[in-house]
């Protein structure tokens, strides 16, 4: 298990995190969004995050540059949503989901689909030829309740931390920036 995966596990376990976004680029940095940060000073938030990351070794902790603690409302204002690049129908009936982002983003998107009854997803993997960090995974439903592309897009569009970049009839705002401020 890599360090980002360990961080995601540790933060989820302790902080009841709604969303975690990590970038691994010469050190790990990112956000953790949790209602627990409501009415809490940023120093207390950082202490809580440090405590959550205590199970990691000192060497692993040294790889972490900074993880900001945000409430869901704060994230709405400052955060950038995970961008789904494409949801493709494959010949075998499954869907391939391609997204801009790292492993933690892919895990979050996968989780949103896994919450649907009968949906199964594969472990996310990097797309080697893609520009930037593009992850992909496969998802499918059951014979009785198949996961169609339309259903998957509907589920993903309903999630406040996810943005679909393009659907057949709708071009999304390309920047991914929050319109909050």
């Amino acid at each position: 298990m890599g360090i980002p995966e360990k961080i995601v596990g540790a933060l989820k376990k302790t902080l009841d995190a709604e969303y975690i976004r990590l970038d691994d680029d010469d050190g790990i940095s990112g956000f953790v969004v949790s209602g627990q940060f409501e009415n809490m000073s940023t120093l207390d938030r950082q202490q809580l995050i440090d405590e959550a990351l205590n199970p990691l070794s000192q060497e692993e902790q040294r790889q972490i540059l900074m993880i900001a603690g945000l409430t869901p409302r704060e994230y709405e204002s400052v955060g950038v949503r995970i961008r789904i690049h494409e949801v493709r129908e494959m010949d075998n009936g499954s869907l391939e989901v391609l997204l801009d982002g790292g492993y933690s983003d892919a895990i979050y998107v996968r989780g949103a689909l896994n919450n649907q009854k009968g949906v199964h997803t594969t472990e996310p993997e990097q797309c080697p030829s893609a520009i930037g960090i593009l992850m992909k995974f496969h998802a499918n439903g059951t014979v009785a309740d198949p996961l169609t592309r339309e259903r998957a897009i509907r589920v993903l569009k309903d999630d406040q931390y996810i943005q679909i970049m393009q659907t057949p009839n709708q071009a999304m705002h390309p920047s991914g920036e929050s319109a909050g401020f």
């Binding site: 970038d23 680029d25 010469d26 050190g27 940095s29 409501e38 000073s41 940023t42 120093l43 938030r45 950082q46 202490q47 440090d50 000192q58 040294r62 540059l65 900074m66 900001a68 603690g69 945000l70 409430t71 409302r73 704060e74 204002s77 400052v78 909050g180 401020f181």
Partner: protein
């Protein structure tokens, strides 16, 4: 105009002083908050310039923080001074808390915000409810304090290689 590390560094100190003046002497809190974040942006750009001299047009403090490597520089500076991991943890946490504050309160679009628009924005974030007195003054003060901590730390780090 082209800027290099020293330009960004001195601009950072100027913007920090101006942020305090705007808040304390002019009650111009939105502009003061904008200036505070700008001071931090300038500082991070100064440190980034040492790593990468290409121009970064975005005003994303989170990316600049990573690219500046200032957190690593800070930890290494303290280790060189003989501090152990426990002694590094507290100031490092304070630094990260200050950045966390700035990430929440500062946005490049603050320069377009009237005092009323800023107040509405902070109300929407549930940040000023229950504050006694002028809530904008309080939040400007919080942001100035966070920016000062980072800029002051930056000053120490900026000067330290010359001393070693």
């Amino acid at each position: 105009m082209q800027f290099r590390d020293t330009d960004y560094y001195w601009a950072s100190l100027d913007r920090m002083r101006q942020a305090q003046t705007l808040s304390k002497e002019r009650n111009a809190y939105a502009l003061s908050m904008y200036c505070s974040g700008l001071a931090v942006e300038c500082l991070l750009r100064a440190f980034r310039w040492k790593e990468d001299q290409s121009f970064e047009g975005r005003h994303d403090l989170k990316s600049l923080l990573r690219a500046s490597k200032i957190l690593r520089v800070n930890d290494e500076h303290m280790r060189r001074r003989g501090k152990n991991e426990e002694e590094i943890l507290r100031p490092s946490r304070e630094f990260r808390a200050a950045m966390n504050e700035i990430v929440i309160l500062w946005h490049n679009n603050l320069r377009f915000a009237s005092e009323a628009r800023l107040k509405a924005h902070l109300t929407g974030l549930n940040m000023i409810q229950g504050i006694k007195g002028d809530p904008l003054k309080k939040k400007a003060s919080d942001l100035i304090d966070a920016a000062k901590l980072i800029v002051n730390k930056g000053m120490v780090l900026w000067e330290s290689p010359k001393k070693s």
